[in-house]
């Protein structure tokens, strides 16, 4: 019997968790900006906020990636090739295109509201909004593919569940963030739409996680059992999904007094966002434990 483990545990930390989490939010925001109709004042204001915030995230996320890479020039090297078989390579390109589209959309926004001369509109193409949505969807999904295209058993076993859950969690997180921003902005009309969409995305996420646990068998024990399992259960499944769904249902069904409703909205959004981050962190951390599971490493998931 060998004493050395078969697989090398990933040396990933909170930076990767944050990167995966923010990638999901960026994806959800891209979709929300596409869905928002410019003809409706509340949706137009939502789109304006999202355009600025998504550009800020698009600027911050490569920063996290670059510090994680250790040597900044590695990021530059990644921009010299496109490798279809590598999610890491495609992901960088998705991020670059998303940033470009987000930048163009901010220029459009500033030109439309008169902060910039109107000719600026012409250099920012109209397809920037769908492009940002498409690249955002890719960014949210590829973070899951990135994990499963490895030999780490728990990630490999989640080849369908992890990408799908990442997309759902990304959208519910984006709705929560947009809802908080709308609250600050005083844009109350758009909140019920965001909350309804968040409920659907969170419910789908919950179902996918339950199904992952059921189908994953031995491979997913590091994620759903032990200290990580408890953390996932308490912070993501209960407080990050179930409680916000209930809070959003209250908002849908009851006419709460305004101050109380604000507290409800803030609580639901913050819990959803925290749950989304903890989900990514538990995925990353469970990979380290999974790598040490000899039996799973010997008979790898299909």
């Amino acid at each position: 019997m060998h004493e050395k483990p078969i697989l090398r545990a990933p040396e990933w930390n909170w930076k990767v968790s944050t990167y995966l989490f923010m990638g999901g939010i960026m994806g959800g925001l891209g979709l929300l900006a596409l869905v928002a109709r410019p003809g409706r004042p509340d949706e137009r204001r939502l789109r304006r906020t999202i355009r600025f915030v998504s550009l800020a995230l698009a600027a911050a996320n490569p920063g996290i990636l670059i510090t994680h890479l250790g040597r900044p020039e590695r990021f530059h090297h990644m921009l010299r090739i496109v490798k279809y078989r590598s999610p890491m390579s495609l992901g960088v390109w998705g991020l670059v295109l998303y940033s470009g589209a987000a930048g163009a959309n901010v220029l459009r926004e500033l030109a439309e509201t008169g902060s910039l001369p109107s000719w600026v509109r012409n250099i920012a193409p109209t397809f920037a909004t769908p492009l940002q949505a498409l690249m955002g969807a890719f960014t949210a999904g590829y973070t899951g593919v990135l994990l499963s295209a490895s030999a780490i058993p728990v990630w490999a076993a989640g080849k369908r569940h992890i990408p799908a859950a990442s997309v759902c969690s990304g959208l519910s997180g984006a709705c929560a963030l947009a809802s908080l921003l709308a609250l600050i902005d005083g844009n109350d009309d758009v909140a019920p739409k965001l909350e309804r969409l968040e409920m659907v995305a969170s419910t789908a996420e919950l179902y996918i996680l339950k199904d992952f646990r059921k189908k994953g068998g031995r491979y997913v024990r590091p994620l759903f059992e032990g200290a990580i399992g408890e953390r996932l259960s308490a912070n993501t499944i209960e407080r990050g999904i179930a409680v916000p769904i209930v809070l959003n249902l209250f908002g849908e069904l009851l006419e709460l007094p305004k101050p109380l409703d604000r507290v409800r909205r803030i609580a639901a959004s913050v819990l959803t966002l925290v749950g989304g981050y903890i989900l990514r962190d538990c995925l990353v951390e469970s990979g380290k434990i999974s790598a040490r599971d000899r039996g799973s490493a010997l008979v790898q998931p299909r």
């Binding site: 019997m1 979709l31 999610p87 999904g141 295209a149 990442s166 759902c168 959208l171 969409l197 010997l298």
Partner: protein, 92 residues
């Protein structure tokens, strides 16, 4: 050992046959399909015990082959949620 692959494989198979004649259980790992659809490996080994004794996976899988399923699952989720999002925003 180095040399043309066909010769190396023939040599290894002969060695396995000799060992088995002497009563030593042995097998080649990586000379033909290892299982999991990978096919022959770039290096192969003569084992006198099960692969797991040598820390070799029993039926290794190429991790990159999982990507298609992953992107498909993500695309299905994106499509379903995008339709829901349009429906929710249009109905309000």
């Amino acid at each position: 050992m180095f040399g043309p692959l066909d010769e190396l494989r023939a040599h290894a198979e002969q060695r396995v046959a000799t060992l088995r004649e002497r009563g030593v259980e042995s097998q080649l790992y990586g000379a033909s399909d290892v299982g999991g659809g990978i096919g022959p490996l770039h290096a192969f080994f003569l084992l006198t015990d099960t692969p797991e004794t040598y820390n070799l996976p029993i039926e290794p899988v190429l991790p990159s082959t999982r990507q298609r399923d992953g992107y498909t699952a993500a695309a299905v989720a994106v499509g379903a949620l995008a339709l829901t999002a349009f429906a929710i925003f249009r109905s309000a």
